[in-house]
């Protein structure tokens, strides 16, 4: 799994951080998404897919 972000579109809802905190974070200045791990281990994959499905601004792309 490989993750890319379109962070310009991020609205800082923070749902990805709630779902997969080992993969996503928010930057201090404006809460915009930050990728902690662009190729997370298998035990994170379901959570990453869930975060991508829920993201309100369709910022998270998952490549498998």
């Amino acid at each position: 799994m490989n993750i890319t972000l379109d962070a310009d579109k991020c609205c800082a809802a923070g749902q990805c951080v709630l779902i997969a905190p080992d993969v996503f974070d928010q930057r201090d200045e404006d809460g915009v998404v930050v990728l902690l791990d662009a190729a997370p281990p298998a035990d994170q994959h379901d959570m990453v897919r869930e975060a991508a499905a829920i993201c309100p601004a369709a910022v998270i792309q998952v490549h498998e």
Binding site: C11, A12, G14, G31
Partner: protein
């Protein structure tokens, strides 16, 4: 057959109004009309109070498509925007960023997003717990009496938290709670709503002016020193931020607390389960948000081009009203949607906070407030029950945000 001149063809029936009444005896269910519309006419026309028409979207997939597409504008000054019957803060003048489109929406929203980011809100959890415990201590002293849970706990927790964050004196809570009540009513006259808007503006104008002289370590203080002083925003913009965050910050969470507490008083099995397994509270809050879907008067959009949604063409300049409670009870997405299941695997797919770039800015804060307050109530007041028959509780079908006006309880 040609109608005779003596009996002209009847004028086409006006479209129905936005459904708001829950089914008889089922105060926790959305209007029954939504289930029929989802299958028969997922995009149908409704009449707004001034007689104009708008589309009403009732299916989950269509609602996500609309809210996720910025060609559906949030700018209330756009032609065709369905303004009539709208509640809340200023609509066209001095409006907050929720009533704007990118790029201005993005610029303004990002001035406050960090204040509500997950780690900032998690850091507040101990303070929210302490505040909740203090209010519960005061309630405990009234054991055996009838207590209005709205007044004693549901409204004070989010009001205190947002006042603290913004730097609004909590001593003024009667003023802003009263004005918010008028602003969010669907049954007051336009004049009454306008008058509440001006009164709130005047109050916040004075507050922001005082803060300009002595900005504190709070959201309004930071907006003044970091954005207004360098010329990024004006005094009026700070007032608009204050109005938006103050209104959105207390009324929504307060109503979710009241409805959630009442639901769990009536569903003993679920309440016992949450007491036995407190780590279920996060999922339970998502499910309660889905189940109750308290936003009942929108969100609303105006199409800026011709756009096809679920096979229905919406034309540029037409307005759309989205039925959040209908999306969150859509059986295409949520199995057995009318059941409250605190372990529902996809509960967080709800659109109770909206969807798209306008999705609720304060959602992380709302989640923590709900987790703390509901968890604490379950733990400290296991015997709490409604003090009146549940069909005598005054439900808020007259308001843009559903809930209970008062919730008399005893234990």
């Amino acid at each position: 057959m040609t109608p005779s001149p003596a009996s002209p063809a009847p004028a086409p029936a006006a479209a129905p109004a936005l459904p708001v009444q829950p089914p008889q005896g089922c105060p926790f269910d959305p209007p029954a009309e939504f289930a029929r519309l989802r299958t028969e006419a997922p995009l149908s026309k409704i009449s707004l109070p001034d007689g104009t028409e708008a589309w009403l979207a009732t299916r989950y997939a269509d609602i996500r498509a609309i809210l996720g597409d910025t060609r559906f504008s949030s700018d209330t000054t756009r032609p065709g925007y369905p303004l009539s019957g709208m509640t809340g803060g200023a609509t066209t003048e001095h409006r907050g960023f929720i009533r704007m489109d990118p790029p201005e929406h993005t610029r303004l929203r990002r001035m406050v997003t960090r204040e509500f980011m997950v780690k900032r809100v998690e850091a507040m959890r101990p303070d929210i717990q302490r505040l909740t415990d203090e209010l519960c201590d005061a309630m405990e002293k009234r054991a055996g009496q009838d207590v209005d849970l709205v007044e004693a706990l549901a409204l004070p927790v989010p009001s205190l938290v947002i006042s603290l964050l913004l730097g609004v004196p909590y001593d003024d809570h009667e003023v802003f709670q009263r004005l918010t009540g008028t602003l969010l009513s669907r049954t007051v006259t336009d004049e009454e709503r306008e008058s509440a808007r001006s009164e709130l503006r005047a109050y916040l104008h004075q507050l922001v002016s005082a803060k300009e002289a002595a900005p504190g370590d709070d959201i309004l203080g930071r907006l003044i020193t970091e954005q207004q002083v360098p010329g990024e925003i004006t005094h009026d913009d700070v007032v608009a931020f204050a109005a938006l965050l103050l209104i959105a910050g207390h009324e929504t969470t307060a109503n979710m607390i009241g409805l959630s507490a009442l639901t769990l008083m009536r569903d003993r099995e679920t309440a016992d389960r949450l007491r036995a397994e407190p780590n279920l509270i996060r999922g339970a809050v998502e499910e309660l948000l889905r189940f109750h879907s308290i936003i009942r008067n929108g969100p609303r959009r105006a199409a800026t081009e011709d756009i096809e949604i679920g096979g229905q063409l919406i034309r540029a300049g037409e307005g759309v009203v989205v039925a959040v409670p209908s999306a969150n009870r859509d059986p295409e997405v949520f199995e057995d949607p009318d059941a409250l299941d605190v372990c529902r695997p996809n509960a967080q797919h709800h659109v109770a906070f909206g969807y798209g770039i306008h999705q609720c800015l304060g959602q992380a804060l709302a989640r923590v407030e709900l987790q703390v307050v509901i968890g604490t109530l379950l733990r400290r007041f296991p015997g709490m029950r409604p003090a009146v028959p549940v069909d005598e509780i005054p439900y808020r079908s007259d308001m843009a945000i559903y809930g209970c006006h008062t919730l008399p309880v005893t234990w």
